[in-house]
Each structure stands twice: as C-alpha cells, then as structure tokens.
Amino acid sequence: MAFAIEEIPDDADLFRRIHRNHINGEGVISSQAFKQPRLSVNWNKYSDPQSTAGQNSAAVTALVCGQCRGLGQTVEHTPIQNGEPFGPNQAHSEICADKSREIIRQLRDMARVVWTAPGENY
C-alpha cells in the first residue's frame, strides 16, 4: 500500500544528515550542508537520527519544521514508495524554496546535532 502524503506539524523535527565533508574537526557544520533548493530530510514521526545517517555521515542534525517555515521555506512530506530509488522511506520530506546566502546560514545556526558517527567527538 502506498504511503499517504500528510501535513507535517510545526513542532515536528526534521532530521538532516551531514556528510563528513561538511563538518570540521571541531564539529562546526558548513552552511553548504543546507544549500539545496529541495533539501532532503526525514520527518521524526517515521524516522530517527540513527536511521537517517548514511554511510558517509559524520552527524545528523534536527531542524524544527515551524522554524523552517518561518524562514519562508515550505516543508513537504514526500514519501518514497517501495520500488522507487532509495525507497521505501515513509519519513522522506523536503524543505523547499530558494535558499539565499542568509537563509542557509540561518538553517545552519538553527540545526541541533542529535547524532554523531562512532568515533567522532564534537
């Protein structure tokens, strides 16, 4: 059965994985980790930080959905169905809209680190 598309509430956490190229040895995350116009995240209703991490992730951050909307972004639930590339993933969502230089830095500064890869000490 296909995943239904739902409205994500403002208080939801959105998990964003951080590639090891986007975090320095002191745990500072680059704004480049938030630059994509359609930024892939996982909704915490159907996911958790550890399962959001990928093979090359150094950390996973959480963004609050309402704060993203407060920056003029739209947050869309875009579940990936079984049989689609990278699917199935019911948690998959996207933070959408053009992201100015200021917006990506605001996202960087709002993001909370909620998971770090084993062996990383930030």
Binding site: N21, S30, K35, R101, Q106
Partner: protein, 195 residues
C-alpha cells in the same frame, strides 16, 4: 603481468594519489586542457604524457601550486580534488579544478600578507565549487566560490545572543578586498555592521 603498483608518495609533501597503475599497461594520456580553465589558470605542462589519469594529474597540479600552504591544508585540497561525481550521494558535482586553483591562490595571498593567518575549513559545494570558512566564538566568515567570483558571508553573534548576517560579492581576483573581510573576521577591520 597483472600486478598493480600503488603509488604512495609524491615527494616531500606526502602527496598520495588514489590511483593504481598497471605495470605492463601504462595509460598514455593525451595533452588535456579542461574547460574550466576559462576563468582560472593552470600550467599546461602538468598535463603532458603520463602514466596516470587526468584527475590525478589535476590533483598533482593543485598540490604543486599550493606549496606555500601548510601540509594539513594541502592534504585537504588533495582530498577535495579527488572527489568523484555524486560524492555526497545526492548528486553533488566534483570540485572544479579552476575553483581549487583560485582557492589556493587566495589562501596563498592571505597566508603571505596576514600577520594572523588561521587555517580555514575547506568545503566542497554541491555544484562543484569550494567554500572557505573560518569560525570563532563570535564570528564566522565564508568565501563561497561561484561562477562570477566570490560570495562573502559574515555572521556576527551580538551581545544579546542575536545573530547578524552580512553578505557581499567580490570579483575572483580582488584579493585585497577579500583580505579586508578576513581582517573583519579577525576583528581588526570594521566592515560590518555598516554605519
């Protein structure tokens, strides 16, 4: 013979290309000039006949040009030069050679002319460029290389805990102006906030 030789040293700098060369089938690579050279420069002699691939020659070229930088920075530059398409799993492009060359040029300028040069964090961008970042408790500074030059972005943490964001565009070769922003990061130049 099918054995492979892994090259592990390129001299005193410790350059370590990620390439294995077949002993009996050396690749002969024709002289090559990448399209990105339209707004950067690279000595063409580095792309002459060789037994290694183009990506490895490019890495070596950048490494040679970065000889005024610290070993740690040079190693990071080589890492960035070696990134492959889709290195992030989300479709990111490899870093353009010209972006690396321009970043090395800017960092060399700052290292030579600043009394307090601090090693930056070098970050690949999704679209194949590079961002140079410095961070401290109250301020951060990013030089993002884009097609038109550099986008400069500063963040300042106010005494009330509010963050202030500033941005500015710079031409690619305007090193003196970029140095001014670096001095803002150090706290020795009052460029932001604007009066």
């Amino acid at each position: 013979m099918n054995s492979l030789i892994e090259e592990t040293s390129y001299g005193k700098g410790g350059f370590r290309p990620l390439v294995a060369v077949p002993v009996d089938q050396p690749q002969v690579t024709r002289v090559y000039q990448p399209a990105e050279l339209e707004f950067g420069w690279v000595p063409i002699h580095h792309f002459a006949l060789t037994t290694r691939g183009i990506a490895d020659q490019a890495s070596e070229t950048v490494f040679v040009l970065s000889d005024q930088l610290s070993p740690e920075l040079r190693q990071r530059i080589i890492e960035l030069a070696g990134l492959r398409p889709n290195w992030d799993g989300e479709g990111a492009k490899p870093v353009k050679l010209s972006a690396l060359v321009n970043a090395v040029g800017l960092l060399g300028y700052l290292a030579q002319r600043s009394d307090d040069f601090r090693a930056p964090f070098l970050v690949p961008t999704f679209d194949g460029f590079i961002q140079i970042e410095w961070h401290c408790e109250k301020r951060s500074l990013d030089f993002e290389h884009v097609m038109e030059g550099w986008c400069v972005a500063g963040t300042l943490l106010g005494s009330d805990g509010t963050r202030h964001y500033y941005t500015q565009d710079c031409r690619s070769g305007d090193y003196a102006r970029l140095k001014g922003y670096y001095e803002w990061f150090l706290g020795t130049e009052l460029l932001w906030p604007l009066p």
